[in-house]
């Protein structure tokens, strides 16, 4: 077993690596700013004119060390899920998820260390051993080939983003909505705002526009006056979502991704008793903007590298 593959095993685990298709590891490219090859030819390592690009493993270590007070989940949702740890990294991209569209745009911008908030390989926590996608699946194979051929590394950052400066995901959502100065609550991962009174219908248009949604479902009377909004992001579980809908004194609620009979059902039963507007923004819509804050933070950690947030964009349209 080559040195490179052994190191990959360290990152993704033996069981996961055994489940991966066999791939050949190409030689990593030299630093393009390095000097010309010496008399021995291309195999001789030239003296660089500038510091060498950091290796993926070094980028990973620097990210982990940058905010030690923030939670880090090394075996779950904060880890490298694909890539050769020795690849020199020319730039970082953050995103909600590393779709092929995001990967292509990252690659085109020279960003080969991609940091999605969510999973990449169509299974929770990118657990190969739990995946039911067949090994021969052509979409999976094509995605793996793109990452391999373009020498990219994918490092998920989920728990760590949620514990960054409070909760960068909730902060990002509220900032994108333009409601930072309206925030009332002090619990980082929850949201409660008092906004200038508006109608539920106008509020829906505001949410749809500011979050760049292509479709947005709401329920409630569009003429209802709304001054207070509770916010939930992502999919933290039914109890959490119900708590947001049931927030005391909230006129309206923004929801991420929900189990509908349980959470929409709760909202239906609540709405049978009192006026309440609900906006079904979805998982991506409530969480992707926080990855822009993650990029801003990472720029401070890696002043020598290009760091950009790459929006994945609302996958849905109205049918």
């Amino acid at each position: 077993m080559g040195t490179t593959r052994r190191r990959v095993l360290q990152f993704i685990g033996a069981a996961a690596a055994a489940a991966m298709p066999e791939i050949a590891w190409a030689q990593v490219p030299q630093n393009p700013f390095a000097g010309p090859p010496g008399p021995g030819g291309g195999n001789q390592r030239p003296a660089p004119l500038l510091p060498a690009w950091p290796k993926a493993s070094q980028v990973f270590e620097r990210i982990k060390a940058a905010q030690p007070a923030s939670a880090w989940n090394p075996t779950g949702d904060d880890r490298i899920v694909f890539g050769d740890p020795d690849i020199p990294i020319t730039g970082l991209a953050t995103s909600f998820y590393a779709t092929l569209n995001v990967l292509k745009r990252a690659k085109a911008a020279g960003l080969n260390y991609v940091i999605p908030h969510e999973n990449t390989f169509y299974v929770g926590n990118d657990r190969w051993d739990a995946s039911t996608v067949p090994a021969t699946d052509r979409v999976m194979q094509a995605k793996l080939a793109f990452l391999r051929d373009n020498k990219m590394v994918v490092q998920r950052m989920h728990s760590h983003t949620h514990s960054l400066n409070g909760d960068a995901i909730m902060t990002g959502l509220i900032r994108q909505l333009g409601w930072t100065s309206f925030r009332q609550d002090s619990v980082p991962s929850s949201g409660f705002v008092r906004i200038p009174t508006t109608s539920a219908g106008e509020l829906g248009s505001l949410i749809k526009g500011r979050l760049h949604l292509r479709t947005l479902r709401m329920f409630g009377d569009p003429s209802q006056r709304v001054s207070t909004v509770s916010l939930s992001m992502g999919q933290p579980g039914i109890f959490n979502k119900i708590g947001t809908v049931n927030w005391p004194n909230a006129d309206a609620t923004i929801l991420g991704e929900v189990r509908e009979p349980e959470v929409v059902g709760f909202a239906q039963d609540l709405a049978a008793r009192r006026r309440h507007a609900v906006y079904m923004v979805g998982h991506l819509g409530t969480e992707e903007h926080g990855m822009e804050i993650a990029a801003e933070w990472l720029r401070g950690v890696f002043p020598e590298l290009a760091v950009h947030y790459v929006p994945a964009g609302d996958p849905f349209v109205g049918g």
Binding site: E118, V133, I238, R259, G265
Partner: protein, 293 residues
């Protein structure tokens, strides 16, 4: 049939348990029989794969039934309609107590009021939605496809994992319009090309877990998948990536409660036949959603 608070004169006197036993016998074996999953220990945790949910959720199964109401979800308005009709057995396709197993544990006023209402009116609520493999069971599994006009073309497979149909060529736009009409609902969501020619359609049945759904969408004979809801990070991402790669797929989300309306209507027709002179009524859940322009 005049509906009163007590069983109509001349009607068969059946307990709720007897009604359920007749239903289970007529609908056939559970598609998941032999592999029941362990319930998640915590209330309101995600529904584990293969979990059987059918059964009485509240009320006295031994009580005589005065009338039956069938609904996609036993929400407060459906319960009130049942009381107005003099029916005391409500059959719900989807969960009613904000937990996949309908364990009514929580301290919200909404839950307490619902439980108090049910107790006050001595209602009995039965969940009946786990896919079953007898002819009538398969009619329920196929109810949405049938409502869309697809009465043949279902491929063999375990219906608890979903169903796949071969259909005459159509498009996601056309299917979306029909879905809105037959459920009914004002809002559906789509991923993928509206005008893609599709002739292989999959439907989710028991579950929206990616582990069950992604392999179905990945099948070469499935171009379009219809589900109530999904996990965005796994399932939506797979469909997006397939489209980026030039292997078009489409996915339509119709809403998990609304998706059960055709099956609830079919159940009402079935039970009206099965239960003799017992009053049976279908009650529609008011679709709550509108599209923000």
């Amino acid at each position: 049939m005049l509906i009163t608070a007590s069983a109509p004169v001349g009607a068969q006197s059946l307990s709720a348990q007897q009604v359920y036993d007749r239903m289970a016998a007529d609908a056939g074996p559970l598609a998941r029989a032999g592999s029941p999953a362990v319930p998640s220990p915590r209330v309101r945790d995600p529904r584990p794969p293969g979990l059987i949910v059918d059964g009485f959720k509240i009320g006295d199964p031994a009580a005589p039934v005065t009338g039956v109401v069938v609904a996609a979800r036993a929400d407060m308005k459906v319960l009130e309609a049942a009381v107005a009709k003099g029916a005391n057995l409500v059959i719900s396709r989807t969960s009613l107590f904000y937990d996949s197993l309908d364990r009514p544990e929580g301290n919200e006023d909404v839950l307490k009021e619902k439980l108090a209402y049910i107790a006050q009116h001595k209602l009995i609520v039965l969940r009946f939605s786990d896919p079953r493999t007898g002819p009538q069971g398969l009619k329920l599994v196929s109810a949405l496809a049938t409502a869309l006009g697809w009465t043949t073309g279902r491929k063999p497979g375990n219906p608890a994992e979903g169903v796949v149909y071969t259909v005459a060529p159509t498009t996601p736009a056309e299917v979306a319009a029909n879905l809105k009409r037959v459920t009914p609902t004002r809002t559906v969501r789509l991923i993928g090309p509206r005008d893609l020619t599709v002739d292989g359609v999959g439907f989710s049945t028991e579950t929206y877990r990616p582990a069950a759904i992604v392999p179905l969408i990945a099948r070469p004979d499935v171009d379009l998948f219809v589900s109530g809801e999904l996990h965005e990070t796994e399932t939506a991402q797979y469909v997006e990536d397939s489209n980026t790669l030039g292997w078009p797929k489409a996915l339509i989300l119709v809403g998990s409660i609304q998706m059960e309306e055709p099956a609830a209507r079919e159940m009402a027709v079935w039970l009206d036949r099965l239960l003799g002179s017992m009053p049976v009524a279908y009650v529609a859940v008011e679709d709550p959603f509108i599209e923000v322009p």
